[in-house]
Symmetry: C2
Subunit: 225 residues, 2 copies
Amino acid sequence: MRTLIIVSHPKLEQSNTQQFLKESAAPLDDVTWYHLDAQTHFDVQTEATRIQAADRLIFQFPLYWYSAPASLKLWLDTVWLKQVAYNESGGLLQGKELGFVISFSQPLAAYQIGGAEGFSVSELLTPYRALAHKTGLTLMPPLTIPQFDYQTEAEHQALLVRYQQYLTVAHPQRFNERAEWFLTQLQSRVNSDSGQLLVDQLMERQEQLERLQMTLGELKTGESE
Amino acid sequence: MRTLIIVSHPKLEQSNTQQFLKESAAPLDDVTWYHLDAQTHFDVQTEATRIQAADRLIFQFPLYWYSAPASLKLWLDTVWLKQVAYNESGGLLQGKELGFVISFSQPLAAYQIGGAEGFSVSELLTPYRALAHKTGLTLMPPLTIPQFDYQTEAEHQALLVRYQQYLTVAHPQRFNERAEWFLTQLQSRVNSDSGQLLVDQLMERQEQLERLQMTLGELKTGESE
């Protein structure tokens, strides 16, 4: 899984959220951080090569007027041309994944009918949904980061894990894949015998859990027949 | 009615649609044409003064990736700041109108479920709907211009009328107000006695029509009581 994080933020250095995400992504293999705002012109062929090298594209940005900042739009307008990014028979983007890492200063509950913002994040992302529909990209459920600066240290740690999984795990919405990722991470960090014992036990529990889930799945299938 | 047309188009001179619209708007009083793309930086106070002078704002653009081109986004991101464009008690935009003049190269029927684009223009404009909700702007139904270059001369003439009405009439969706606008235009263009006779007759017909509509309205109200 090769992931390209396309970061759109006009004041990156001043953003605690983006600096945190940048540090969280840094140790990961096959993950590329690409900040758009330094450029005002894009070379189409260079950008096409960059996109081609990725399996998963992440649009990462703070919500400005219910959309990405202008720099992401400029990149799309100038690079995602017909016959470059897509064509009648599919093209460059076909079959790749498109994820979103979106931060905002309101609580998540503001984004719903009756909430302060009145529209859900999914509704606001409709233009990107149309874009995925057009180009053959597979959408991932967005990773939303509300009010980063008000979050506790524990919430930041949980975000780090969620973010790293979002960038690297095949299906970050599936519990088993997230658990597997967690055990692999733990494994690589454990040096003592007692630590290893803990990891082994966790792995055994995880296997038991997966067997139980499978049995449950079979029972449900039986019921519906 | 003072109208500010905010035009976002990176290649304005090459666009037949925009050149046609520019000429259509030129003879109108109290209508200002403002093209964003020449600038990469905006002075917030200058822009706020410009907005303040208008009762109706028009976002006019070709649909690029199901949204406005980057220049409109840059203008919004840098100018429509809290405490400038809006604040807790309403602010600069409160009570003004927001209209859209949107051109695209597909037929309108492409913009629906099952159509080539898969989403309606109304759905795609969700971020602007949220923006209007936030700032107290009243939305106007969009004026859409599909496939301008394939339209006939008669369709272009009809567009000119629709566009001029969209910019200047209080409620362009109401038949009576459009008819009134039309008669005023005719009046100002007629010089001969026989022409004046025609205008007088049209005006009389229009008055009869409005009286009939009013009677019909009263009958309907009576029914529902």
